[in-house]
Every structure is written in C-alpha cells, then in structure tokens.
C-alpha cells in the first residue's frame, strides 16, 4: 500500500484524529501551565489518574459526562498540589512533578486493585459512542473524520479554541502569559502571580486528566494499569514543538497521531523488513528530534522554572 493511497483513505484520517485527541488535551494542559511559568512533569500521572477516575465513575454507576467532570476535578486537585509545592513553596518543579506522577500513578493502580481485588480481566464499561450528526456526518471525508468521532474529540477542539481565545484575546490570558514572562510586571499591576499560576496549573491539569479519561471513556472500554504509556511525556515534547502556541499544538498532535496510525498499519502488513519495535520507537525518536530542531529557536517563557517570591528580584 502506497503512502498516497493511505492519505486518501478515510479510515486513516478517522484513526489519526482519534489518536490525536488525548495528545491535544494533554498538550493544551501543559501549554497553559508552562505559559504561566510552571513546568508540570506530573502530566503522565495526572493523565493516569484521569484515566482511572473516569473509568471508576462509570464503573460505579455514574454517567459518562459525569465521569469527564470527575476526571477534570481529580486533575485540578492534583494540579493544586503541584501548585502549592512549586508556586507557593518554591520547590523544584522537576522533582515535584515527578513526585506527582509517581503518586498519581501509584494511587490509580492501588485504587484499581482495591476496587477489584480478584478480577483477572478488567471489566468493561460502555464508552462514548461515535456521534452521528445528521447532515454533518455525511459530508465526504470531513464528515466522518470530524463528526464521526466521539463527543470528546469535539470537546478537545473546543478546548483548543477557548484556550487560544483566552490566552490572546482576554485580560486574564494576558496576565497569565505575563506571569510566565515577567512576574514582576504582573505584581506591579496589583495582580497576584501566585494566584494566577495556581489557577493556570489547576486548569491545565484538569485538561490533562480529561485527556487521560478519553482513553478509558472513548478509545478503549476498560482500564489497564500503565495504559497512558508515555503519552504524557510526548505532550511535554509537543509543547516545545508547538513553540507554546495552541494552534501549533493541534498541528503537532495530528502529526504524531498520523505517525502512530501509519505505524499501526505498517505493523499489520506481513513480511516486515524492519522489526515492528522500530516503528513503535518512532514517536519517541521523533519527539527528541522535534525538541532538537525546535530548541534552536525555542522561545521558552522567560520565567519558566523560576519560582516567584514577593519583594525579591
């Protein structure tokens, strides 16, 4: 099968957009945190917690949309912990983030095992179904690719729009970006850097958790320990790739998902000249290459990783 044929195939694009959805949520979430000046390495664990929280909510009888909200709340709570440690206490953002990842992943696995001590196969839930919007879904190519998805994909695109609008068109967004570039200036405007950063990290973490919840609520129908499988780390690379801009985050997420989709198709073909592990490596190698290429002109938020203390410069 040639590359051109693949690109013309609707199924390939449907799969790409589906796989891009959790990456888009995660990348947007990380982008919001970093724009406010806080690196959030808790993302891998926060996604795992969202994954488990969302599944748990439905498994215990809740609704699917309730599960999305619950996952967001879990994410925001973990974000609050990260913010308390890094923003208010000024602790190392690297180490705190890793600690959050470890804690959230361990708590998710622990809760899952305590909930189902004896299950050998993870119980299934009924996930979000693909939408069928009369009229829109029947548009050739665009219909199934965009509107034949689960509602969470549209939610991700809406989140992208809202994030971009807030960041660039509202005073709150300006204050948030200033907190990441020049916190002193924010303080001189009579605003609190600590408050802005806390809210940003909580909101960003909520988005990450919803990205994790997408995995159990829309992509798969059960929870597996370790199912986030590095997606969070890829999102961190994607933020650099996107040069901290929401629009480019969409581009990056789609590019990576397309790569993943190609990799899966190639894997299924028999008579492989290259071992399938090489294809599985590609997203990670690609992330590193993207980091190297982009870092040359990377415009890191100037105050990223720098704790802010009132009255100090």
């Amino acid at each position: 099968m040639g590359v051109l044929e693949l690109l013309l195939e609707t199924g390939f694009w449907v799969a790409t957009v589906r796989m891009a959805t959790p990456l888009l949520f995660g990348t947007l979430g990380e982008l919001i945190c970093e724009r406010a000046g806080v690196l959030n390495l808790g993302i891998e664990g926060i996604m795992a917690a969202g994954c488990m929280g969302g599944w748990c909510w439905v498994y215990l009888g809740g609704s699917l949309w309730g599960a999305v909200l619950f996952a967001a709340a879990v994410g925001a709570a973990l974000g609050l912990v990260h913010a308390l440690f890094t923003v208010h206490l000024g602790l190392s953002q690297h180490v705190t983030g890793l600690g959050i990842t470890m804690l959230a992943s361990a708590l998710s696995s622990f809760a899952f095992r305590m909930l189902l001590p004896k299950a050998t196969t993870p119980p299934k839930i009924v996930p979000f179904a693909a939408m069928d919007i009369p009229g829109l879904s029947s548009i050739p190519l665009l219909g199934p690719v965009l509107f034949g998805q689960t509602p969470l994909t549209l939610l991700a695109l809406a989140a992208l729009g809202v994030t971009a609008w807030v960041l660039y068109r509202t005073p709150a967004g300006l204050a948030l970006r200033m907190a990441g570039e020049n916190p002193m200036a924010v303080e001189s405007q009579g605003l609190s850097v600590h408050a802005i950063r806390t809210v940003a990290v909580m909101a960003g973490s909520a988005l990450m958790a919803v990205g994790g919840a997408f995995l159990t609520l829309a992509a798969f129908d059960a929870y597996y320990i370790g199912m986030v499988n590095g997606r969070g780390w890829i999102c961190i690379a994607l933020v650099v790739f996107a040069s901290w801009r929401p629009g480019k985050a969409l581009l990056g997420a789609l590019l990576f998902a397309a790569f993943d989709a190609v990799q899966m198709r190639v894997q299924q073909q028999s008579g492989l000249a290259i071992p399938y592990q090489v294809y599985l490596m590609m997203p990670y190698v690609f992330s590193i290459v993207a980091l190297v290429v982009m870092s040359r002109r990377a415009a890191y938020p100037a105050a990223l990783l720098v704790p802010f203390r009132k009255g100090e410069r």
Binding site: L41, V81, F85, L89, L91, S92, H94, V95, T96, L98, G99, I100, M102, L103, S105, A106, L107, S109, F110, R113, M114, P117, G230, W233, I234, I236, A237, V240, P275, Q277, V278, L280, M281, Y284, V285, S287, I288, L291, V292, S295, R296, A298
Partner: protein
C-alpha cells in the same frame, strides 16, 4: 508567633526533618490502609516482619536495595550538578544489554576478570547513553529531562526487539529472554541459599567511592560548584561543559552498573522485567538522601524495606502491594517540603 528565615540552617532540623517527613508519609498510607478496612498497625507489623523479620526477609531486602543504591547514586551525582537525569531506567537496560552481549559467550575470561569487565562495559554503555542528551543540553540547550525520559522508551523497545528477535534464547521454551550469561560472569551469592549476591558489596563500594569523589576531589568540587551556580562557576574559570559531561558519564555509568548487577547477580539472563522501575525509584532514593552518596544507602534500604515488606503484607492481607509505590511517592513529596524546614525558624513572642 512568626516564621522567619534562618541565617544558618539548623543541624538538628536538617537531620530530623526527613525522618519526620517519612513519618507523615507513613501516616498518610496508614490512613489509606484504614480506609480499605484493615488495621494499619497489623499491616505495618506484617510489613516489618516481611522485610526484616527473618534472615531470608533481610537478605531479600538487601537484594532489593542493591539496584536502588546504584540508581540512587546515579540520580544523586547528576542532580548535584543540576543535570536532571531521568533516564536511569534506560541506562540500566543499556548496561544489562551490554553485559548480555559480552557475557553470553562473546568473552572467555576467568571470573575474576570477567565480572569487572562486565561492570566496566555496562557502565560505559550507560554513561554513553546519557552523554547524548547531555551534549544536546550543553551544546544546543535542549532540555535533558524530556530527552532522557523519552530515551527510556527507546531503549526498552530496543531490548524488546533483542529478546524477541536476534537474542531470543531457543532453549527458553518460547519466552522472550536472552541466553543466560556464562558461569564466570555470575555474581556468587553472599549468603548460601539466599538471593543476596556480591553486587550488594559493589554497590556499597560505589557509594563510598562517589562520596569520596564528591567530597574530596577537584572534580567533585566542580560538580558541586556547577550545581550551586553555573554562572558563578563559569566566572571562576571552571570548564562547566566538561564538568557536566563527566558527571553524565559517572551518573549513567552507575545506572548501567545497576543493570549489570541485576543481570549477573539475580536474573542471569536479559528479560523485559529486569527492572520494575528502579531507574525512577532511584530519583526518590536520591531525594530522600538529600543527594548525599552515603545517605543513598540508607534511603535505598528504606525503600527496599517498604517494597519487600509490602509484597509480603499483600500476600497475607487484602491490600494491593501498590501501597509501596504510594508510600515512596508520598515520602518523596513530604521530604521535599521538609527540606525547607531547616532554613526557617519559628519565633514565639
């Protein structure tokens, strides 16, 4: 009452703070155990009995502490120089793969030469693996946290390919594992009929060595200076780039030795479950030890007690052994906060 900064950190608090923090973490875990309907006292008793209560339990704990000392040291020396090496997991597998390549028939050496050769080669593999991200950091300012992390996945997939493909042992009944290392490469058990092997002593020696290097050598001074302030070090004429690269070789090398020790001392052959995340636990160990190489030994023992004890406890009680991961993660966060304590004092007025 008010809280104000101290000029000189209090020594008593510096020592007491981490102990207190671990106490808080264990209290939080007890709460979790209590919430899941078991008596925390009984669970803790079983945990201690399972990790320290018998000769067998004790040797199991020391066996578990061995790779944690190596990876803890790897994180500690790197973090000292503000080199955020999160890739110890990949470096561990790189060391193990190197030892497999050389140790399964490639080299024919007597044991007294074979074992040191494998350790050196494994260290070299781990060190070189970290050299790449470090060069990207010093030359192109690419953040090493993400690159070292992503490399873990790449290395694990490479090992996956090796044990499913070219290195697959035809005698392993279809299991994805490489051929066992030759007898000369096996680390002998230290205590008969237990799994405790001489890798533990190598790990202790490395801890003392790393402490001596950091404390007494010029190189150690450079590591500490760069970690303290890169700008000031540059100003003082320290070759910052070279110091960081050497630190990378040392850090990656220690992580690579963890892989050799696990392979030659415990498993005997390369598999994908050689490490249940020792690279990541090493970061916790290093932080618990406040990045002090000798403290790493104590911290590794603590983490080993928790994980071996939790395994044993979860077999007798209906509590998932993931409680060990929860406890170590909580300890990490609590210790982070506690490290602030010595620098502040409470004034009563």
């Amino acid at each position: 009452m008010r809280i104000e900064p101290r000029e000189q950190p209090s020594l008593a608090l510096t020592v007491l703070a981490p102990v207190l923090a671990v106490g808080v973490a264990l209290a939080l875990c007890s709460l979790l155990i209590w919430l899941s309907g078991t008596s925390p006292a009984r669970a803790l008793g079983l945990l201690l009995k399972g990790s320290l209560g018998s000769t067998f339990a004790l040797t199991e704990t020391l066996t578990r502490a061995t790779p944690l000392i190596f990876t803890g040291l790897a994180a500690a020396v790197a973090f000292r120089a503000k080199l955020w090496n999160i890739g110890a997991e990949g470096q561990l597998y790189a060391g193990a793969a190197m030892a497999t390549w050389l140790g399964t028939g490639m080299l024919d050496l007597p044991a007294w030469l074979m074992v040191p050769t494998l350790f050196l080669a494994g260290a070299l593999a781990g060190g070189l693996l970290l050299l790449g991200p470090t060069l990207l950091k010093t030359r192109l300012a690419v953040d090493e946290v993400v690159t070292t992390l992503l490399l873990n996945f790449v290395v694990l997939l490479a090992v996956n390919w090796l044990v499913f493909g070219p290195w697959k042992d035809p005698m392993a009944m279809g299991w994805p594992q490489a051929a066992p290392v030759v007898d000369a490469a096996v680390l002998a058990p230290m205590v008969a009929k237990t799994r405790l092997h001489w890798g533990f002593v190598v790990a202790l020696a490395c801890a003392v060595g790393a402490w001596a290097v950091i404390r007494f050598s010029t190189w150690g001074l450079e590591i500490r200076a760069v970690g303290h302030s890169e700008r000031a070090s540059r100003f003082a004429g320290i070759p910052v780039g070279r110091a960081v690269l050497r630190t990378a070789l040392l850090s990656g090398g220690l992580a690579g030795m963890a892989g050799v020790s696990e392979l030659a001392g415990l498993k005997g052959y390369l598999t994908l479950d050689l490490s249940p995340g020792f690279g990541y636990s090493g970061i916790v160990v290093a932080m618990l030890a406040a990045l002090h190489p000798l403290g790493v030994v104590a911290a590794a023992l603590f983490v080993a007690v928790i994980s071996i004890g939790a395994d044993s406890m979860s077999r007798s009680l209906e509590i998932s052994n993931y409680i060990a991961d929860v406890a170590t993660a909580l300890s990490l966060l609590a210790v982070l906060v506690s490290m602030l304590a010595p620098r502040w004092r409470i004034r009563w007025r």
